[in-house]
Subunit: 567 residues, 2 copies
């Protein structure tokens, strides 16, 4: 594995904006420097400056040339001083999970193991340490000021008003309308926020399954996802050594990491769902809390009484976690231990500030099944559970579909808001037609942009290989960029402060034939340049699309010049 991984963006610099409530924080952003606009006026060459464009940056220390990263040591522990200063936490003498200790003591795993494991932090008995707890106490944490600065992308300097202040962030977190996933054991993560009144976020999935991909590849995929703009990362590994892989990923990941703990629990029972127990699942949660997982997807909304609602579906259940726990319920003819022990789950999460992503095990797997009784019955249960999480100051959001035709998307959002009391919604697409396998990043981006506009806070990406195979590196890139553009389209439609600054700068660069600025401002500068180069010479006053005589923008400029000189 390469030791000092670097992420670079053309024409860009890494800058930091300092906090004022918390002067110790500095929020990394990417700044794209532009060329001046050149014109000839009265025979003189005039240059007019174009302002730099601040871009929300998910690449963390990897894009800071002054920081030497080392995959074997992990990223700098940015948030550790903030956590320690707030108090209420203790560093454990020993990891609490039995399985974690077994893995630790297994010498045969030494070669796979991350070398610099730190003992975990945990809230002291009787202490509360979650961002939601602080918010409700009226405390603006460094994390809250950090995300306020981050969300605004320096727009105030351009004279753009913003509603996003540190106090606004605190209020949203206190009310449960927004989540800052921030496990105290993942201090390497840069704070970010998930909520309707903020930028729409995107999640990327990585993970090995069966016998594919090793640890190195997973860490590289994580960094790759951050490069293109993934806001959070779910490790969905189901194969061997997922405990060790996860440690590597978390230690090197500048964005929050989520998991579906059930996958690891299933590995422990060698795939026999009926052998799952609460104790085994509990140990898995503790193991992952102490490694630093920031949020858990748990399919606790599945009730025994509702499972039969999926019987007459076109595509049954398509959630892995949901189908596993449903099978357990039916084999034991009992309510699921995830539902029964929900308060215990919250108690565990509260001690590490792990957020809950209430998984939708009954989400539709085809547009035929969209908005059916099974799906909405589970949503009702999630509405009940989210209030129980909040009662314990556990941050939570709600997962949503899946496969939904366009005319049924709005009902999903409205019901989620109503039944789940404004908790953030986190959807997988939705895919709006089932006839395009191989293009489901697009079928789902259509639904994602719409539901993001309607208020969904985070969109789980879909790659071109969805329904067909696991994504490779290029698929991840395509999936992330596709979801970034869908999320950004939603930000524009929601009129997020400053969201259009980048669009306008790119459009102006396009009109003025500043090709490099156009590429540098785009979501994927490398691809834009590559396509351009298939047919053009950089720097030309036209492209091959219209040719020299038919370039509308060029003709349009000559019309303006006519105007200008009175001809």
């Amino acid at each position: 594995m390469e030791n000092n991984i670097k992420i670079t963006y053309p024409g860009s610099e890494k800058v930091y904006i300092k906090g004022s409530l918390h002067p110790e924080i500095k929020v990394g952003m990417r700044v794209v420097k532009q060329m001046p606009t050149v014109s000839i006026e009265n025979g003189k060459r005039i240059e007019r400056k174009n302002p730099s464009v601040y871009i929300y940056d998910t690449s963390g220390p990897y894009s800071d040339p002054s920081i030497k990263t080392d995959v074997r040591k992990g990223l700098p522990r940015l948030r550790e001083p903030w956590i320690m200063e707030r108090g209420g936490v203790e560093r454990l003498k020993e990891i609490s999970s039995e399985y974690g200790r077994i893995r630790r003591d297994d010498r045969s795993l030494d070669s796979l193991r991350f070398e610099h494991i730190t003992l975990p932090l945990r809230a002291k008995r009787g202490c509360e340490i979650s961002q939601m707890y602080y918010a409700r106490q009226g405390i603006v944490t460094p994390e809250m000021e950090y995300v306020a600065i981050r969300e605004n992308m320096n727009c105030a300097e351009l004279g753009i008003n913003t509603h996003i202040t540190p106090e606004f962030v605190r209020d949203e977190v206190a009310a449960g309308r927004a989540v800052i996933p921030a496990n105290i054991n993942h201090p390497e993560s840069e704070p970010m926020i998930i909520g309707t009144n903020f930028l729409v976020k995107i999640n990327t999935n990585i993970g090995n399954s069966a016998t594919t991909s090793g640890i190195e590849e997973e860490v590289e995929k994580a960094v790759w996802s951050c490069k293109w703009g993934g806001d959070t990362l779910m490790d969905l590994s189901t194969g061997a050594n997922i405990h060790e892989t996860r440690e590597w990923i978390i230690r090197n990941c500048p964005v929050p990491v989520g998991t579906v703990p059930m996958y690891q629990a299933m590995e422990k029972v060698k795939g026999h769902a009926e052998e799952l127990t609460w104790e085994l699942f509990r140990d898995t949660l503790v193991e992952q809390c102490e490694q630093g997982v920031d949020y858990f997807t748990i399919h606790c909304g599945i009730r025994l009484q509702n499972i039969h609602l999926a019987d007459n579906r076109m595509t049954g259940m398509v959630s892995r976690g949901g189908s596993i726990i449903s099978k357990w319920c039916q084999m034991h003819n009992k309510e699921s231990f995830l539902y029964e022990h929900f308060d215990d789950i919250c108690d565990i999460c509260a001690r590490y500030d792990v957020a809950l992503s209430l998984g939708d095990g009954l989400r539709p797997g085809s547009i035929y099944d969209a908005n059916d009784r099974a799906q909405f019955a589970e949503l009702d249960t999630m509405g009940e559970l989210v209030e129980r999480a909040w009662a314990k100051n556990v941050q939570a959001f709600i997962e949503g579909p899946g496969h939904v035709p366009m005319h049924k998307i709005q009902e999903n959002m409205q019901r989620q808001i109503e039944k789940c009391h404004n908790a953030p919604f986190y959807t997988l697409g939705p895919i709006v037609t089932d006839i395009a396998p191989g293009y489901d990043h697009i079928t789902s981006a259509i639904g994602a942009a719409q539901i993001g506009w309607l208020g969904t806070a985070m969109l789980c990406y879909v790659t071109p290989k969805e329904h067909l195979a696991l994504p490779d590196r290029e698929d991840v890139r395509t999936g992330v960029v596709t979801y970034k553009l869908a999320a950004h389209a939603a930000d524009i439609a929601k009129m997020h402060p400053g969201a259009v600054v980048r669009d306008n700068a790119l459009s102006k660069a396009r009109y003025e034939f500043r090709w490099k600025d156009q590429f540098n401002l785009s979501l994927d500068p490398e691809r834009a340049l590559e396509y351009y180069k298939t047919a053009n010479h950089v720097g030309g006053k036209y492209c091959t699309m219209c040719g020299p005589d038919f370039c509308a923008m060029r003709i349009s400029q000559t019309i303006k010049e006519c105007d200008g000189t009175g001809e």
Copy 2:
């Protein structure tokens, strides 16, 4: 050039459905044959048939193995007997266009020329022959019955009600709400309809510019576009020999062909916009009418008084035709000859049944410019012009943007309906964010699906190379499939009769691990199979996405089996 071009689709057959009002017509469709669903019940293997799925087919004779096509001779002249039987037309002794005669007599072009040119048809003086004319007379033409059958995709056989009858088609065409582009000189084209109350159509652009691509390549691109599902084809060539290239394309194209005649007019004046004249433009129209172009994009909505409205735009004018005619207006300080001679244009179109696509020269080229005064002033003019076209029984539709953020899309559709009296709307996307060059097929598919749902009748495709370079073959495929899925998503949301049949069949095949059926039913079977093969063996009961132990659909089926046996 390959002589006998064939289009094949896996697992599919070409079938024809006969007319009843017009027993001589037979409407080609593609039928996907499915495998049976196999289950074991009480130890016995049970097979249940899955019905064949009828798919709207744009591939024409190329996918009929019993027809031997020959690019040098052109496609069978399907509609010629219908046209001749209706009467009112005469076969000219000589082509009417001066330029056409010059090209014909130029011996140096002999090697480029299509060999079997037929002399053109034209309405006799005093006779009306457009589909709109017949519709208003209460006559259901073979074209009208053809499209009624085509739109329904045999859904009545599945017990699905449909509002689309031949009489309904006639009524929609009579009212101007729908257009059947059907130049009497393009009898090779299979009738199709463009209107809100029908399937959403997509247009593909091809065309050389500057020095790229020759005749062979253009014909191959045309067939390629039809293979993937392009409903109409615009030839936007601006280079050399466009007269000859167009002849080859039209003679071999089973879908309607559109052009922007201004491009050819500009070639004739060697790119000097100020030298354009009505007489020259008129000759170009006649030339193309007699070759068989089915619809013309003409930027006749640009008024001298409105040009200045684009002055303060971010991106000025981005329509090639619009910028050319604006430049002409300003240089001559005169109202455009396209506007002044609009009635003359209609008189020409009426004699060949060429439809008008009223081009939006002032469409926005960036989301910043969306829905501005320039754009809407032109829309008002188009509303005036479409009524003048209808007064002469000329079919017409209205072109729309372009670049529009999601929250401003609906206003576009509403104003178009209101100002343009329910004439069909034909939009280019719209692109919903400007920050993703290289991915603009996706940014625009998001807008296209939404505006299609709201009522837009036809969507002009955008390829990944938009704004960067001319598309190659793979870009065309990606662009067409992306637009097919967007149009289909809109058809589902509009609840077009039978639109979900294919989705449901594919979803059922997916759930039952009938992989081949899943691929065969998809928009791009080749790509789906290719992706699947990167990691799987065909025929497995799971894919690499979840691996054998975690396949939700498989687990979900075992749950249903538990139910079934009472365990």
